[in-house]
Each structure stands twice: as structure tokens, then as C-alpha cells.
């Protein structure tokens, strides 16, 4: 070995000694990595296991099938039909513009609406609904173009359907997606965005029975959110079915009677409070409202001058007009202001405070007792006793008859109307009550407003001589889970304890109204009807008595007829209000007569019990939808 080789050899040995350090550090580093992996996999393993489970699984909500709604005889009023929803998953869409174009040509989507939906915030991974209610043809068309439309899916869904179309729309209501505001309320706590709930009518008030409980499917998804396989399924449970008190035949008749006029007709069974019919016109289309509306469609409904979304039966507030005379007469008789011997001479006007309050009959009614005053609807008689009673006593009795209060009908947003009094005027208007206002109030004009539902309860109370039941809309609930039928009881209202003579006198007078008074057009050969006409003035008391046809329709008076029948043994109370139709006796009374006669004719056919109705339930669609989830 050369000298150089020797040096090199020493240096090599020196170098190789340093390499020993490499060995030590190798062991150290591998040890360190092992420790780290032990920490991740053993000591924190469970934690990361959970994270990985969360990563890979998603909970997919399985929407429940909504309960069905039947009338009292088992006629199907609301069910569910299969529907096709069009969904777009943005993540999979390559060319948004091209997609829009093909969707517009294929299924005629509104381009602006779809574009808006696609640009809404939200996960790109989750399918978002672009349109629902595709026809079978449209769904098939989309399916056949599947390959050209990446990211587009058509899903079969359950769509609320009202087989009767517009029938009982205000009563049944409609359904829609829960709003974010609604979600914050405790009653909707178990729901999630996209859940369908009742938004109006019985659909809303009985939503917790109808909606059922959502199920949950656990699916394995990849990092892109695509479903790979189902891990676990918790089945949804369908909602309970409702049996309403409505008789579809009477309901349809009431709606036909109103026709194109605006107004409301209510019929209730006095012995139970069962609402047999509740019609309100104009009407909305519950099938349309239960689908997704474009903003334009929605605006059109909301801005409609006829306010179709108002249920005039429970939310329409009108001056009661002469129908209020029932309350005033009762107040007079109870307080002793009026007796059977009280006589008032009517000359066609009542001078007070420097002006003359006119009677509807310019030439006057002559000498009137209380029965005749009701029968002929003499205004001067009631001006006189109203003046003697004073506004606060009238208000007290109106209050006892339930005016100014909700009737408790199970429909959303019932209105209370106004029962004016001196205290009310100070509070509501911060003004002093004017004596002349008492005179208008005595014939149901001025500040006083009532809903047709309230007047129905007034008539039911009179018919029952003080006994009445809270208006009832749902008579039974069929529990989906157990198949049990839960009959809901009639709830008695507090008895209105007036003297029997007062009721007798009212019964006699109201029968007289039909048999020999202002409601001659309600006279029936089938049944004796008792009732009271009313004409609710839309403007302040008018001095000129023009013929109705000379007044623009919008300014014409509302026609009332409140009634019950049979007069001697009341079974049904019927209230009719027709807006802008003028005199109640002419326009409203005949409608009530037809409803009552129809009821009397129906009567022999005993209502089918809820149990028996189940047998008759066989809408094939509804059954098919059920089977899918049961």
C-alpha cells in the first residue's frame, strides 16, 4: 500500500466511524416514527376511526308519506301521488350553459328560475331540486338523454294531491317546504330544510299527525359525495290519516252555490259542532300551491285583489248588519230594557243629535213589538233599544255570544272581529265614544265586525238555547302505526245562560223572519227554517238609497243570512255571506235554504263510521305509495 493509500485508509476508517452515528440515528429515527404511528393508530386510533366513519357515511333522510285526509263518509280529499323531481348535482356538471339549454328544450324549464336555483349557495356535491312535478313523459325524456346530461337525475317522490281540485281548499290547505323561520320553532324541531309540512288549513293545524316521521338511510359515500352503497336503513313511518267532519256533498254544493261570487258558506251540526261544509270564495288551487311555485306565480296569488288566500269563513271580518239584532234583542230582553209588551212606532227614521238615522224601509214599519221588529228587521226599533241599552251593555252581550273571540275552529289564523265599546274606542283609537255611534252599532253597522264562523256559533247557540259545541273539523285520527282509530270528542262550549223566555222569543222571531218576514226567499217546503237576514254596509251609512244595480259592484253591501233548521228541533246551523251582493234576504237566504234542504235530504244516509271508511279507501296511488315505505 502506498503512503497515499495509507492516508486514505486512515481517512476511510475515520469516515466509517462517523457512519456508526448514522446507525444510531437510523434506530432513533425509526423509533421516533414508530412512536408517532403508535400514537396515531393505537392511542388515538379510536378517535381517527370515528373520523373516518364520519367521512365515509352520510345520513340520507327518507321522507315519510303524508297521512291521507277523508271526509266524514270516507271520501278521499287528500292523498299522495308519485311525482318526478328534477335534480342537478353541480359537481358533475361540466358545461352549465349547455345543460341549461338542453333542459329548456327538453322539458321547457323556465331558464331564469333554473339559473337562479343553480347559483344558490349550497353544496356542489348534493343534488339540488330544479323542478318538481315532471310528467312521466318528461321524466322518460330526461332518462333517455341521461348520458348527454351529466349531473342530472330524476327522482321519484311523493307529491301531495287533492283529488277534488279546488274543493274545500281553504279547509284542507296545502303543503310546502318548511321555511328556515319555521324550523326554529319547537313544533318543527325534528324537521330539516326540505321537509314538507302543512302550510295552510287542516294540513297545517294537524301537521304533527299528518306528516309522519322521517326515516334515515346511512349510505357510504366517496370523497365526491357519490353514494356507493347503503349501510343501514331506518324506515320512515307514514303520517296518520284524518277523517274530517266535512260532508263532501254539502261542501261541493256550498261551493257551487257561491259560484264566482266572493263570500263564505258554513254549515255545522248543532248537536256536535261538526263543520259539515265550509266554503270560501275566491279560492286558490291547493294542488298548484303544494308544488313549487315560481316567484311570478306566487306574486300573482298574493297580489290578487280577491285575496284568494283568505279563508273568508274564519278570516273575513264583516259588519254583521241586521244579524246583530239577535244579540241586541237578547240583551234587551235579558236586561229588561225590552219586554214582550214593548212597542216602538217606526216612521222610517230616528232623529238623534241633529240628524235622522234612517230605517231601511223609508215609509216606516208602523208600531212594532220585539218579535215584529226582528221579523221585519225594523231599524228604528233597534235604534231605540240600542240607545236605551248603551254600547257597553250591547258589547257585553256580544262578548257573551262569542263575538270578538276566536271560535276555536282548528284552522290557522282565525280572526276575532271587533266588538266596540267605550273602553275599546279609548284603547284602540284613543277617542271618546260618540252617542250616535251607539245607534249605528245597534243595527250592526259602524265599528262592529264579525266573521261568518262567529255568526255560525251565534246561531248554533241560539238554536241550542245556550248549549253549543266548539266547531270541530276533524272527527277521527287513524293512527298509522297501530291502525287504531282515535275518535275526537265534541267539546261543549260554556253554556250561554239566558232566560228560557228569551230563547223562546228568539226562536219564534227567527222562524217568523223566514215564514213571514225579510227572508221569504228561504222558505222551504221540506223544512221549517229559522234565520235572520243582514245587509252589511261597506261604506258609511248612506243617505241615498240607490238601487243596487246603480252602484259599482265593489261598493255594494254584503249580503248575510244566518240560520238554523229545523226551526222547532234544530240540527244544522247555516251561515251565508256573499260580498257586494246587496240585500241579505234576496241573495244570501236562498243559498242557505238550498244547503239546508240538501242536508235534510242527505240525512237518512247515516254517515259512515271511520272504521267502515277504511274499507272503502282504495285509491290505488295511495296504496302504492304506502307499500313503498311500510
Amino acid at each position: 500500500m502506498s503512503a497515499r493509500g495509507g492516508t486514505q485508509h486512515d481517512e476511510l476508517r475515520e469516515l466509517q466511524q462517523r457512519l456508526i452515528l448514522f446507525k444510531v440515528s437510523l434506530l432513533l429515527v425509526v423509533g421516533l416514527l414508530t412512536l408517532r404511528l403508535w400514537y396515531l393508530q393505537i392511542s388515538e386510533g379510536g378517535y381517527y376511526q370515528d373520523l373516518s366513519e364520519n367521512n365515509r357515511t352520510r345520513a340520507v333522510v327518507l321522507e315519510p308519506v303524508r297521512g291521507l285526509i277523508y271526509d266524514r263518509n270516507g271520501v278521499l280529499l287528500a292523498n299522495n301521488v308519485p311525482s318526478f323531481g328534477l335534480y342537478v348535482t353541480l359537481e358533475d356538471v361540466k358545461d352549465r350553459k349547455a345543460l341549461l339549454e338542453s333542459l329548456v328544450t327538453l322539458v321547457g324549464l323556465d331558464e331564469a328560475t333554473v339559473r337562479k336555483k343553480l347559483s344558490e349557495r349550497g353544496s356542489k356535491l348534493l343534488p339540488r331540486k330544479v323542478k318538481d312535478g315532471l310528467t312521466l313523459r318528461e321524466a322518460a325524456l330526461i332518462e333517455s338523454h341521461r348520458l348527454d346530461l351529466p349531473g342530472v337525475t330524476v327522482l321519484a317522490e311523493s307529491q301531495r294531491n287533492y283529488p277534488g281540485g279546488l274543493t274545500a281548499a281553504h279547509l284542507l290547505g296545502y303543503v310546502g317546504e318548511v321555511s328556515s323561520d319555521q324550523l326554529e320553532r319547537s313544533e318543527y324541531a325534528e324537521l330539516h330544510l326540505g321537509s314538507i309540512i302543512g302550510q295552510y288549513g287542516v294540513e297545517k293545524t294537524y301537521d304533527r299527525f299528518l306528516r309522519g316521521r322521517a326515516g334515515q338511510k346511512t349510505v357510504e359515500v366517496d370523497a365526491m359525495g357519490h353514494e356507493k352503497r347503503t349501510v343501514e336503513v331506518g324506515k320512515p313511518s307514514a303520517g296518520d290519516d284524518l277523517y274530517l267532519t266535512i260532508d263532501a256533498r254539502l261542501q261541493t254544493l256550498a261551493e257551487q252555490l257561491l259560484g264566482d261570487e266572493f263570500g263564505a258558506i258554513i254549515a255545522i251540526e248543532t248537536a256536535t259542532g261538526d263543520v259539515l261544509a265550509m266554503a270560501s270564495r275566491p279560492v286558490f288551487d291547493p294542488n298548484m300551491l303544494s308544488r313549487e311555485l315560481t316567484p311570478k306565480q306566487w306574486d300573482k296569488i298574493v297580489q290578487d285583489e280577491g285575496h284568494p288566500l283568505t279563508n273568508r269563513a274564519t278570516q273575513g271580518q264583516y259588519p254583521p248588519g241586521s244579524t246583530f239584532k239577535i244579540v241586541v234583542a237578547a240583551a234587551g230582553l235579558e236586561t229588561g230594557v225590552v219586554s214582550t209588551t214593548t212597542r216602538v212606532r217606526c216612521t222610517g227614521g230616528y232623529p238623534f243629535g241633529g240628524r235622522v238615522y234612517r230605517d231601511w224601509k223609508a215609509q216606516g214599519h208602523g208600531v212594532m213589538d220585539v218579535v215584529d221588529a226582528i221579523v221585519d228587521s225594523c231599524d228604528v226599533f233597534f235604534y231605540t233599544i240600542g240607545q236605551r241599552l248603551g254600547i257597553d251593555t250591547m258589547a257585553e252581550f256580544a262578548d257573551r255570544f262569542g263575538l270578538g273571540h276566536e271560535t276555536g275552529v282548528e284552522l290557522p289564523s282565525e280572526r276575532t272581529g271587533i266588538v266596540p265599546s267605550t273602553a275599546w274606542k279609548t284603547k284602540a283609537r284613543n277617542e271618546i265614544w260618540m252617542p250616535g255611534e251607539t245607534i249605528s252599532a245597534a243595527i250592526g253597522q259602524g265599528y262592529t265586525t264579525v266573521t261568518p264562523m262567529q255568526m255560525t256559533m251565534v246561531m248554533a247557540t241560539v238554536a241550542g238555547s245556550g248549549e253549543s259545541f266548539r266547531p270541530r273539523i276533524v272527527r277521527a285520527i287513524k293512527e298509522r302505526a297501530t291502525g287504531q282509530v282515535l275518535d275526537l270528542p265534541s267539546v261543549p262550549r260554556p253554556k250561554l245562560a239566558l232566560k228560557p223566555e228569551t230563547y223562546e222569543l228568539l226562536h219564534e222571531s227567527l222562524a217568523g223572519v223566514v215564514s213571514r218576514g225579510t227572508a221569504g226567499r228561504a222558505r222551504s217546503t221540506l223544512v221549517q227554517i229559522a234565520g235572520k237576514t243582514g245587509t252589511a254596509q261597506t261604506a258609511a251609512l248612506k243617505d241615498d238609497r240607490k238601487k243596487d244595480k246603480d252602484i259599482p259592484k265593489k261598493l255594494r253591501d254584503h249580503a248575510w243570512f244566518v240560520s238554523y233548521a229545523p226551526a222547532d228541533e234544530p240540527k244544522i246551523a247555516v251561515v251565508v255571506l256573499v260580498e257586494n251582493m246587496g240585500h241579505g234576504g234576496s241573495w244570501a237566504a236562498p243559498l242557505a235554504k238550498q244547503v239546508i234542504e240538501a242536508y235534510i235530504k242527505l240525512k237518512p244516509a247515516e254517515p259512515v263510521t271511520a272504521d267502515a271508511a277504511v274499507e272503502r279507501e282504495s285509491p290505488p296511488m295511495a296504496v302504492a305509495m304506502r307499500d313503498a315505505h311500510d
Partner: protein
Amino acid sequence: MIDRVLDSRSLTLDHFDWRFLGLIAAILSLGVLSIYSVTSTLPGGGTPVYMKQLAWIAIGCAAFVAMLAVDYHKISRLAYILYALLLVLLVVVLVAGKTSRGAQRWIPIGPFVFQPSEFAKLVLVLTLATYYTKSPRQGWMQRVVLPGLIMLPGLLLILKQPDLGSGLSYLSIYVSMLLVVGMRSKAMGTLMLFAVMLFPFAWEIVWGSLHDYQRERIMTFVDPAYDTGGKGYHGLQSRIAIGSGELLGKGLYGGTQSQLKFLPESHTDFVFAVFAEEWGFLGVLVLLGLFAGLIWLSLEIALKAKDMLGALLAAGLIAMLAFCLVINVGMTAGLFPIVGIPLPLMSYGGSSTVATMAALGLLLNIKRRRLTLFY
């Protein structure tokens, strides 16, 4: 003695060789298995990824044999030429390379892509070993500055791509060989002083040359809460994959993190996480054992090398392998920032596999020729 010499000449394999080759084969198999597991569920036609990897391994075997067959002294003579060629290739990458995810690292050759930076490490080891063997190793100018200057163009070209991972391993080779050659404490001190003084400028240059995603990766490493939904995602998913493997793992195809693609780059840079998820801590112990064994044997080679060139070459190659192993496992396990370094012999990738196998061939070359001088 005589027997062993004869053995080496006749190319028969001794016990050591078998162990060395066995470890390589075992690691390669586990790599292919993991790649197979994670890519077999991928939709789409074409050659399966694991088949491609097997093809690369075949080419790697050829490189292994080539590097084994020719005496490493002869290879050493080509060092500077190879280095020059490398610089040319790195320039070609920058000019005509294929860009992918913001980086320009690949040269397309027919249906394949070639990543010169993977070979840069091997060539650098060869170049520096040759330099240190031939040049006087006195004074810090010759020890530190000159080799540093030799190394620098390659480093800058790699960082320019940008390829932070390869740049770091490239730099680590220089530093490791410097340490092996042995720096006097005085020289070390001076270097440290310079490094500290230059650090702000170097930081500015390095930080400034980084891409946004690289800066964010570093930021999320320094502060994991920096952006949990965004850039910290990879690291977190990787930790979840490893951690959820627990003791026994989820089994072949059972790795939900990788199978369902929560784990990014699962068959390349993050193949270790795939393996750890499917085979658990026990599997990881085996794998790390195999790697430790391979490096241990390589260290044996370095320790018993007959000359400076052999020892230096071996040390550089070991540094190259060990650095990649530690940084890769460390980054998948959340110990280091994610810098994009493949796991040698495991990650899918032609250039990396071939370069690593060539390096291992060279290591065995050094071992097999350590006794010839005594003849």
C-alpha cells in the same frame, strides 16, 4: 477469503446478498399490493396502475443489474458527464416539460413521462462522491464551498420547477455527505454563522420562489388550524387514514379513506397511509422493519467499503433513501409539512422506482467489489 472473492466474481449470491435482495423484493411487493388495493376499484379502462408499476419494477431490475454489473469506479468516471447531462435535462424540463398541478417536472417520452429530478439525487451522490474522492479534502473551501457550488445549479433548477420535495432531498444529500466527509468544528461553526447571517435572504428567496399551495402547506403545518377545510385537508385525511387503521388495519380493499378517495394521491405520495390504513400498526411495524433492515444492510456496505469512493457513495445513497423514507412517513403521519416526496420502492412512479433501484444496485455493487483490492 478466497471463497468469497470467487463467489463475488462468479456472480453467485451470498447470504448477505439474499437478505438485501429479499428486503427489496418484500418492500416492492407491499408497494404493488397497496397500489393494487387502492386503484383496482378505479373505474376506466387502460392498463391497471399496478401493472404499470410492475413494468416499472421490471425496468428498475434492469437498472439494478446494470448498476451492479459495471464496477462502480468506472461509473464514477462518468460522474461529471452525467451531472452535465442532468443539468441539461433539468433545463429541458423547464423549457419543454409537461406541466401538472402548477409544477413543471416531467419530460414526456412516448407514452411515458420522465422526471429528471428523481435521477438528480442519484447523480448528485455520484458527483459529490467522485469530487471528494479525487480532490483534497482540506480546508472549508474545498470541503464546503466548491461542492456546494457544484450542487447549486441542480438545486436551483429543481426549485424552479418547483419541486420542493426533490429540492429538499437533493440538499439533504449534500449536507449528509458533508457530514460524512467530516467537518472540523471550526469550519462547521463558520458555516453555521454564515447560514444564520444569510438566513433572512435565503428565506426571502426560498419563500418568494414558493408557489401559493406550497406556502399554504407550510402554513398549515405550522398552524394546523390555519385552514382545516382547505389546505390542511390532505394532512388531516392522511392522519385519519393511518389512525383509523388501528392495530390490525381494515384489511385489503378495506381502507375507506383511500378506497373512497378521501385520501389524496393515495397510490403515489400517500401510499404509506393506504398501507397503514389497511394493515394497521402491526403492518406498519413490519414495513418499517423492512426499511430499517434495508438501510441497516446498506450501512454495513458503507462501513465495509474498501475505499473512499465506495464509502462516500454508499453514505450518499443511504442518506438519499433514508431522507425520503423519513420525510415521507413523517409527512403522512403529520410530523412534517406535506412536501411531495415519494416513498422509495412503495409509491407508484416510474422515475422514482427506477432511480431507487439503480441506487440499490449501486450499493450492492460497492459491497460485491469490496474484496477485489486484496487480490
